[in-house]
Symmetry: D2
Subunit: 140 residues, 4 copies
């Protein structure tokens, strides 16, 4: 099976509470948009938080980056796209792009890296079996 690109996409509308006193989305609201994208990806491909928990692991973020290109205003409609970045390491790596849904203008990009902890909160150095199987299922 040939490796393919795994992507998900989620549309959203900027909430009143996400906008700062300058009338634009506060930068600290973007972790939520990225998390919504990860949840969508997890639902689409069977690797959500609860799937990971069910296998006895927890996958906390260890790196998170945001690059803000253009501000978003109150009531903007937007779309966050998330792409799975394959890696031989025992890591979950995603890249993100947020687009204005009306203009298709690129609003922000980012990247997250997650590792696996076991039930005792110990770092897992080798990919858990369920994750290896998941990768194989998608040709990685």
């Amino acid at each position: 099976m040939e490796a393919k690109i795994l992507k998900s996409s989620k549309s959203f509308r900027v909430r009143f509470s996400e906008v700062d006193s300058m009338g634009i989305v506060w930068h600290g609201s973007y972790p939520l948009y990225f998390e919504d994208a990860r949840e969508q990806f997890g639902a689409d491909y069977g690797i959500g938080y609860l799937d990971i928990f069910a296998h006895g692991y927890y996958a906390p973020l260890v790196d998170l980056q945001f690059h803000y290109k253009h501000p978003m205003r109150l009531d903007s409609r937007a779309r966050v796209e998330i792409t799975y970045i394959p890696s031989p390491a025992a890591k979950l790596i995603f890249e993100y792009e947020i687009f204005d849904a009306d203009t298709d203008c690129l609003i922000a990009t980012g990247r997250s890296v997650q590792v696996f902890l076991d039930k005792d909160y110990q770092l897992v150095l080798y990919a858990p079996d369920f994750y290896t199987e998941w990768k194989q299922r998608y040709g990685f």
Copy 2:
């Protein structure tokens, strides 16, 4: 021992992220101020979240009210005062007042009611022993 009024107070400064696009504190930021007040009260009188957990209980909110009198602006300094409201029920009841620290203007008031759940998340109808002892210690 005579019953007394138990109060705590906590000073805070409005954060940039708590202010909305009108330049005033978003109403949904107030649950945080009240929670900070409860944590201060818990630390002052030995009845914080972790004390309650340590006795095998969890004390979720069942009622929460806010009355907003005056807006707070970015960089305001304020003070939240919390008062314990004695009750024969197996409940933790608090009232809150937030004051502008510069003008002493009353910004908001509120009230919260918490019940006790046991480790199985079942409602406890009678006050847990540790809570009865806590009340007696303060003359309630």
Copy 3:
């Protein structure tokens, strides 16, 4: 035209970030659900934040109440219903009900009251014309 009941409804899924360390939705996440419901109502009936701004007013909350009946857990699917409560006062009053989307169990109820401020942040004692016209359009 006969007065009718104006309601809106919005489905949502509990986010990871909205859940507390007990595994249930933190009480302070509910203002967001209510706000989402108000935004949905505003979009459905032409009385959203931006409509109100466009007429030169701002409608801050002055009262907000929550009654928590049952906890919601991570990944719950829920539905918030919002009902407009007619009043002769220059106020926007809404009541809310949150239901578990799978069990139809009533999770929480609440109520909010908003007043109108003009561009100078002064309280408006009489209903603004646009609001009176809006009410008449719906038979109130």
Copy 4:
């Protein structure tokens, strides 16, 4: 005057609402800690949000990075340290370190980059005069 290192530090306690269902601080809470650090730095050295506004500018973030080294738990006491990173560009660059206040363990590091927009939300390519003067005052 010789260039020096400008640093600020702010102590904080993890809030109940900042902790996720695994009992550790949700990664999306860290933008708040960094923002608190920037506000402390701004207060210490006269270059806070309101100082920048007062000169007719707005300084939104364009890049933001987090590296999470160790989890923080509920009720942890911590300290965020912020260091100003001099640059010839019209940018405000900061680096951050968060330490557990009890163990001095390094919890997280990060970096933020801000640019300057004028009142019309246009990017300013040359450092505003007030910022050049501020840098000179501190020997940069």
